[in-house]
Symmetry: C2
Subunit: 238 residues, 2 copies
């Protein structure tokens, strides 16, 4: 509140929240902004960095600074890292996932398009043929669930569940060695969820999802992970 760079960031953020600046709007050059706020470019730039990392502005090209809506994946990554630093346990993650994913499935069964369902089928097929490959299985599992969440047309659910699921499913890498048959059970569960979605059967989709997540939990118990800390390791994205 007291420092100039902070005031600048807050002021511009407030203008965005108020609607004075709309996503897509281009901001003036740094020199102009600096003189408008009565500070040096160095100071102004510190404020801009803060806004940038908050996701309120970004540079589509080096010469263009424009207002944006914070991106979902940026928020998810931040949240996941924060949770990891807070040493949240798999139990905490699981308890939440037990309510978000069944909801996602229910919504998807109502809102999902045929197109999305066949895309989901493709992801599922890829998962089937990845049996035994841990890293790939984790990625595809996460993708399967995220696709379902997207089908539900609920961005709030998307934001709330993404970091949680991200951290939880990473735990599969610690479960798989203890229970190799989990690959098969996972495939079977996904297959049942997919079928329910195809039939537009909300209750069945929800029920199978719940059982699926519950099964995951049994795996975590076998691996002794219940109260272990979940780690956010950045997966290599080449």
């Amino acid at each position: 509140m007291s420092y100039a760079y902070q005031q600048i960031a807050e002021e511009i953020e407030a203008q965005i929240m108020r609607g004075d600046l709309l996503p897509g709007d281009q901001l003036p050059g740094e020199a102009e902004l600096a003189s408008k706020f009565g500070v040096t470019r160095s100071t102004l730039r510190e404020g801009l960095r803060q806004l940038e990392s908050g996701g309120f502005v970004h540079r589509p090209s080096p010469r263009r600074l424009e207002v944006t809506v914070p991106q979902a994946d940026q928020l998810s990554t931040r949240a996941a890292r924060a949770m990891s630093l807070m040493n949240v346990t798999f139990r905490e993650l699981w308890e939440v996932t037990m309510v978000t994913e069944p909801l996602a499935a229910r919504l998807a069964s109502v809102q999902g398009t045929e197109d999305e369902i066949s895309q989901l089928q493709q992801t599922h097929s890829a998962l089937v043929s990845a049996e035994g490959q841990m890293e790939r299985t984790i990625d595809l599992d996460e993708q399967f669930h995220t696709q379902i969440a997207d089908m539900g047309r609920n961005r709030v659910l998307g934001l709330a569940r993404e970091p949680v699921v991200l951290l939880l499913f990473r735990g599969f890498s610690q479960i798989a060695p203890f229970a190799p048959k989990f690959y098969k059970r996972q495939i079977e569960a996904h297959s049942n969820v997919l079928g329910a979605l195809r039939d537009r059967d909300a209750d069945r989709a929800e029920k199978w999802t719940r059982m699926h997540i519950d099964d995951f939990w049994r795996g975590a118990q076998i691996a002794g992970l219940e109260d272990a800390f979940a780690l956010a390791q950045r997966s290599v994205t080449p």
Copy 2:
């Protein structure tokens, strides 16, 4: 990735995630850091601003820069503003709240201490005596639910629900004028939830919470808010 200030922020953040830097650790002075990274103070400071706004470092005193875990309320505020900018609807918020709050109540009935229950009672009493005062009712309502969520000892749930509930309950200000009797119904519902928690009755606590949120939704329907956008207005915190 390419700019120096960004590399610095990423490098330090990585050290924190990796555990090379632990929360509470003090960082060297800016001059020393700058020379360590081979950049000027100005450039280094831009990186620090980015870390600061990400919640990874903070200044307890102007002379001390230390590593921190991102604070929950900071993340919630960011998420709430992002959701608001994404023009999320009350329907989306409600659908998620319908699963988070009942879960919170269930966990609270198991994990909550007697002390916390009596604190909750106090919040409830304050709500009763605030009947008719909209702003105060909204604040106390949010506090009541947040206290329950905290009782559940699940930080993931806390992070996931906070921004959602924050935005949703603000909508009460648009419902109240249409349905003045909602004050009474809210008080009654809270009272029932409180009773269930006192009896450690998880099912009843969950059920009443669900009904309570559902009731809220009926109010939103009466006010025609179902697909209206939820706004994140910063409440004045003096």
